[in-house]
């Protein structure tokens, strides 16, 4: 604790802050690639999440690639008396608009279209800002990150809608609904962007502001 008074951050004081249980652990003096585990909960300890920028970029690009088939391929295939109608995420939104369910249309539009795109843009922007060692509004950027991390799960909405639809509207009745391949890509986008957000380390936003050199912190 004695050396902690001088430094403002845990990394600056040579302390690991456990991601899982928040325990502060003195960083061992030995160097090299030794895995240090939290004595309390057993989680791996790092000053910063390992390779945060590279991993987040990789996941972000993967999500971006999956986002295209997720929107082009149908998520539901409805057959009614021999006629077949394939619906993508966007045509589902339009269906609700045409039938007057504006509230539901808005919910799906936000959860399935706005949130994933906003997440890709925000995370990409945060990564670029960290790489350019930006000092611009760190508190607001951290807050943006926090919101991104919180809202991501709501994009799973469409996957659940398809699940309930296929369960309720099945063979043997006049109408059947089948899941389309778009659901697979869309589910992948949601999961990958959630992991990308978890992989990003918001503390990197602040490292550039520390006066004392913390180049060893990365």
């Amino acid at each position: 604790m004695t050396c902690a008074h001088a430094a403002r951050t845990a990394a600056g004081a040579g302390l690991f802050s456990c991601h899982s249980c928040s325990l502060l652990v003195r960083r061992p003096s030995m160097t090299g690639r030794v895995t240090v585990r939290c004595p309390r909960c057993g989680a791996r300890l790092h000053l910063r999440k390992p390779n945060s920028i590279t991993r987040s970029w990789a996941l972000l690009i993967a999500a971006l690639i999956f986002y295209i088939p997720a929107n082009l391929f149908p998520v539901t295939i409805t057959s009614y008396l021999g006629s077949i109608q394939a619906d993508t995420i966007m045509s589902g939104v339009i269906f609700f608009m045409q039938t007057g369910s504006w509230g539901i249309a808005l919910i799906i539009f936000v959860a399935s279209i706005v949130v994933p795109i906003a997440k890709l843009i925000v995370l990409g922007g945060l990564l670029i800002s960290v790489q350019r060692r930006s000092r611009w509004r760190p508190a607001e950027r951290t807050r943006l990150y926090r919101i991104t991390e919180l809202v991501g799960r709501w994009s799973m909405l469409d996957v659940f809608v398809v699940t309930v639809l296929v369960a309720l509207v099945r063979l043997g009745y006049l109408t059947t609904i089948q899941a389309g391949v778009g659901v697979v890509y869309f589910a992948a986008v949601v999961v990958i962007t959630m992991i990308a957000a978890m992989t990003f380390d918001p503390r990197l936003i602040w490292d550039v502001l520390e006066k004392n050199d913390e180049s060893n912190a990365h």
Binding site: T9, G12, L24, R143, W154, M156, F160, T163, V166, V169
Partner: protein, 201 residues
């Protein structure tokens, strides 16, 4: 291992841990990220909620979930039906994802909490307690019962013009489970629980 300092997960700034008034939160002075909460009786309350949640989860799996009435016939589904149908339509990925996020992860989360908190309350030192509590904390964002509930609402609106949808007992149990999980997120004080486990060794 009770520590007087805590580092912000958002910006790594060190803060001195001060006693908080009941039901209040401490946020980072620099970036606003939540540092710690003070939730009174956190072990008892979270344990009670977790047991309640498990009961609702069991009920949600035993009883009919949603039924669809069309042209005089009734099709009854349970919570797991969607997963089964998806896997039959060679949608194994989404099927597994739905099963995990709406059922297995909430169940594992609640089970781990009951195990750990029961041990703390009774003063037992059970194996893997810390590992299970860490697992429960890691799993929290992947428990998506509330998103599933909204998905049900959307589907019901979509089908309302085509057929009558009848809610079953399991749907109400699932609704209750959503509230229980939200209450756990609000009342659980992980810091206090970790400190109680520190006394084990």
């Amino acid at each position: 291992m009770t520590q007087t300092l805590i580092a912000c997960h958002g910006c790594d700034l060190l803060h001195r841990v001060r006693p908080l008034p009941e039901k209040s939160k401490a946020r980072c002075s620099r970036c606003g990220t939540l540092l710690y909460v003070h939730s009174p009786e956190t072990v008892n309350r979270t344990l009670a909620l977790a047991i309640t949640g498990l009961v609702f989860l069991v009920i949600a799996n035993l009883f009919p979930f949603l039924s669809l009435e069309s042209q005089g016939t009734v099709l009854e589904t349970t919570l797991i039906t969607g997963t089964i149908i998806l896997s039959q339509q060679s949608m194994a990925g989404p099927a597994i994802l739905v099963l995990l996020t709406s059922m297995l992860i909430p169940g594992l989360l609640l089970g781990a909490l009951v195990y750990v908190l029961w041990a703390i309350k009774r003063g037992y030192r059970l194996p893997a307690g810390r590992r299970l509590f860490r697992l429960a904390l890691t799993l929290r964002p992947w428990s998506m019962t509330e998103v599933f509930l909204l998905g049900i609402l959307v589907s019901v609106v979509k089908l309302a013009k085509m057929a009558a949808i009848i809610p079953g007992t399991a749907l109400f149990a699932f609704l209750a489970l959503v509230f229980v999980l939200a209450a756990i997120n609000a009342f659980m004080d992980p810091r206090a629980i970790w400190e109680k486990m520190d006394k084990w060794s």
